[in-house]
């Protein structure tokens, strides 16, 4: 298993009555990004906490870099960087002090730890705020500082637990670029996310979990092919033409369309379907008032994978609120 940064089999974790992990298998190949995709309460954070030695699984076994998370936890901790759901920075310290603290705890000599802090502050565009207490930072700045803190020791494996939850779209895309940069530097990443587009953008492979169970694994393309990555919606001007639209859409997307009033919807995995639909409807003399192609939501992916929508229950394993 040495070509795997993480290898986990049959992980089980219960909190009282709740089963957060119900036999989860995971594998992250060295140098790649695994996206762990699932709704709130699916068990993503619990999986990260087990794999980062913060909690012990009730059953199953996991190795990180070939080391067992239970019996060799200290070695595992020397290999990982953890960025949690909430930005875990010390608000009473400045950005520079936060990074210096981590460097010193990792045993880096003071001068080099300071130098590393300066480097990271530059890389994450925090130089101007370096000497301000982190409590004065914006949400995006905190996330960047948090990510910088997990990189101080140049860990070969990074856990990014919902790194962009709560960020505005611009900050989100910036963070994606940072993550891509790290991956091109050879780092392996376990990324948890609720967003299909994020997993699609960043992950080499995706594992979808729900209720503590793995419900699908594959590359983003494989999953898209299986579930339809986008959703097509068509509304004819004349409601009596809904059956024609339904048959055209069904034929071209090879899926059974949903009809909501006069709106016909179907998952699409091949974007060239759109012009084909337009041509066919035009040929049939159907005038449409709405024609859209948009990214499938996680709910739609879940619906097609599990046959039930993702329940938006609270994440039992995450104590914090997203900020």
């Amino acid at each position: 298993m040495t070509d795997h940064a993480i290898w986990a089999e049959g992980l089980v974790k219960r909190f009282g009555e709740t089963t957060a992990l119900d036999g989860v298998d995971l594998a992250v190949r060295t140098g790649t990004v695994l996206g762990l995709l699932g709704p709130n309460g699916a068990g993503k954070t619990t999986a990260v906490r087990v794999l980062s030695t913060l909690i012990r699984p009730d059953a199953g076994r996991a190795t990180v870099g070939g080391y067992d998370v239970l019996t060799d936890a200290h070695r595992v901790r020397q290999l990982i960087g953890l960025t949690g759901q909430y930005a875990a920075v010390d608000e009473m310290l400045t950005g520079a002090e936060n990074l210096l603290l981590i460097g010193r705890l990792l045993g880096i000599p003071k001068a080099r730890a300071k130098q590393r802090a300066t480097e990271l502050l530059t890389q994450f565009d925090l130089t101007d705020a370096a000497d301000r207490a982190a409590k004065t930072y914006s949400g995006g700045m905190r996330r960047r500082l948090d990510l910088a803190a997990s990189l101080v020791g140049r860990p070969p494996l990074l856990y990014l637990d919902e790194p962009t939850t709560g960020l505005d779209p611009r900050a989100r895309i910036e963070l994606w670029n940072v993550i891509r940069g790290m991956v091109s530097g050879g780092v392996s990443v376990l990324l948890t996310t609720q967003y299909l587009d994020e997993a699609d953008e960043l992950a080499d492979e995706i594992t979808v979990i729900d209720h503590g169970r793995v419900i699908a694994t594959g590359t983003p393309d494989e999953l898209k092919a299986k579930t339809g990555s986008q959703s097509l919606a068509v509304r004819p001007e004349d409601p009596s033409q809904v059956p024609i639209v339904t048959s055209v859409v069904g034929e071209l997307t090879r899926a059974t369309p949903d009809v909501d009033g006069s709106r016909v919807m179907a998952p699409v995995s091949d974007p060239t379907v759109l012009p084909a639909v337009v041509r066919r409807l035009d040929d049939a003399g159907v005038v449409v008032t709405e024609l859209t192609l948009r990214s499938a939501t996680l709910n739609e992916v879940f619906l097609s994978l599990t046959g039930h929508p993702a329940d938006d229950i609270d994440d039992t394993d995450s104590e914090g609120t997203n900020s």
Partner: protein, 271 residues
Amino acid sequence: MTTATITAPAAGELSHRVSPADGLRQTLTLAWRTIVQVRHNPWELGDFSFQPILFVLMFNFVFGGAIAGSPDGYLPYLLPGIIVMNMLFVTMYVGTGLNTDVTKGVFDRLRSLPIARWSPLAGRIIADQVKQAWSIFLIVGIGVLLGFRFQTSLLSVLAGVALLLTFALAFSWVSVFVGMMARDPEQVQMVGFTALFPITFVSNAFVPAETMPSWLEGFVNVNPVSHLANATRGLMLGGPVAEPVTWSLLWAAGIVLVFAPLSVWAFKRRV
């Protein structure tokens, strides 16, 4: 790439556990962090610097005349009392800090690092001892300005400070327990103050027990704050020492015996 086991750069061989020397170094780094925090939180600095000074001044000049005939006559009795009261309040920062770390996720980050498991708590407690020593120094300093004079030897005074720091160390476990049970840092402060005010005021810290109703006097005489205030008085000003010191140390041991296991339990429940 079949044998490409990931390795930490520069680390070479990974170690299986933390050496005690590294653990101590990490503890001191975390203590440094707690002290540096104060720089960005002047409010806390005020709590263990200006507040005790204010207490000395207010109690001395407001109550001094009524309790001892004059502020000058009250000061020698009052000062050890203020030192003990302040010591208990300052220990609450251990719990507040731990709770902040847990609720903000900083604690998870620390636990994911290859550092000694005990260093985050030990770092807090060492930082607390520094704050305690600083507070005692300030209170004695303002006392000396107002006319307070030690009546015993330097060694005896240092023994008094050592006793106070030892008790603070033991009482930190109460703070850790409250910190691990509380929802948020504000709740730690609230529970701390609610419990500490009666304990410190229903003692002989500010007023001799003989002046109180007999049912209250009974409680005052077993209250560890009373023993500790008496012991501090004895060691700084002269008078009986053996009995109050023994009782103070017994109380300290008892508090550790009860609250250390409770804290460990609360800690495991929380993380």
